[in-house]
Symmetry: C2
Subunit: 238 residues, 2 copies
């Protein structure tokens, strides 16, 4: 079955966590908003009264009759259907738990440059952003990075992956998390990464997977930029 | 099987979404941190190197050998095992999607009184909180409340519940969301509630369910207070 991904066409954003899973699982999909007139298709679907189960916001995925919203929920579906999560229900819950923890950090990273309102320009909340980014780098990032390092360290099947002995969507998302943090906060991550070697190695391990490597080298991978979640504002990095 | 809930003993917080599901499903559970010495048990478990699948933070639930973290993930588990979600995989994904959207709003409500850092006192970020709360009430709340109203309006099985014709954990969480918002922002919700009658009615419908009603009347229900997520600071309400 060919899937349709609905997400903003000019940013990685939350859609990127879905794109990475689609690419790793070698699923045929249309990134619809990046096609001619596709963004209007996405926006009109969001406004369509006939959609009985409307998504709140992109990303959402059309898979046959299913229209699935919420990034972690889309990954729950893809993981189960396409072998990017363990077979056992306990293993799936654990994988999803890690994904939801990654999602919490992603939201905090976004709010570091938009602490007052997503609808206001960064320039209009820059002073507050400096305070929040300092807290993110000083307190929150170490706490989250230590957590994922700990999960890798304690994995009974070894530290190559977060869950068990095979790659899951949580590993793909951890790759994207580290990639985004290294783009947004190169100084802080150079320092913080030293003590979280397993997590940094996981990022490299995922990047070298054949399908991920070819995706990252393709035009399908949108470069990081200052409209997405991970933004490089030098004044926020330290 | 008797479950153990691990959550902070003096607030509703995110644990309340789990408590409501446990109560509605009539599950026997220990709210461990509210028992003698139980909070230390919770904290030492968070620091226990032998826990192979450690939670990042409370709430987490022990169910036999499973230790499940992340509120929405716990509800995914309870919904499937205890009849608080549809049988179909599509129905379960839709219910979870709504839960994750509720969780997003809950995080925004928390950050309205803590826009700079969760670790700082409200008093130390009051000025920024006023700005963020104004945006929450002016932009975000209407957008989210309209969304849930729309979901109720479009439910093919009627507007009594968010999903299908029977109560799910998403309805219980929507109840808690409305209850918390009405506590934190009475002025704003009196105004905003008028145009979202289905959602306000859902709150009343859930409150009247026998098990929920008896839970709300019991000492197990911790009153709202200014240490939780939903805080009533009159200066933030408008």
């Amino acid at each position: 079955m060919r899937y349709t991904l609905y997400y903003w066409p000019t940013i990685q954003g939350r859609g990127e966590f879905v794109r990475l899973a689609l690419e790793e699982a070698d699923i045929r999909y249309d990134d619809i908003a990046r096609t001619d007139g596709g963004e209007d298709v996405m926006l009109s679907l969001l406004d369509d009264d006939r959609v009985a189960q409307p998504p709140f916001a992109p990303p959402f995925l059309k898979a046959g009759k299913l229209l699935i919203g919420q990034t972690a929920n889309i990954l729950l579906f893809l993981g189960e259907r396409h072998g990017l999560a363990p077979e056992s229900s306990g293993g799936r819950l654990w994988t999803h738990q890690l994904q939801l923890t990654i999602a919490d950090l992603v939201a905090e990273v976004h709010d570091a440059h938009h602490p007052i309102a997503a609808s206001l320009y960064y320039e209009d909340q820059k002073r507050e952003a400096k305070k929040r980014a300092a807290n993110l780098i000083g307190e929150r990032l170490p706490k989250y990075l230590d957590y994922f390092e700990r999960v890798l360290e304690r994995n009974p099947r070894g530290s190559n992956y977060l869950v068990g002995a095979r790659v899951t969507y949580a590993d793909l998302s951890a790759f994207q998390l580290v990639a985004g943090l290294q783009y947004a906060f190169p100084k802080a991550m150079a320092r913080l990464g030293k003590k979280r070697a397993r997590l940094i190695q996981l990022h490299a391990r995922v990047a070298e997977r054949p399908r991920i490597a070819s995706y990252l080298a393709s035009s399908r991978r949108i470069p990081f930029n200052e409209q997405g979640i991970f933004r490089h504002y030098p004044e926020l990095d330290s």
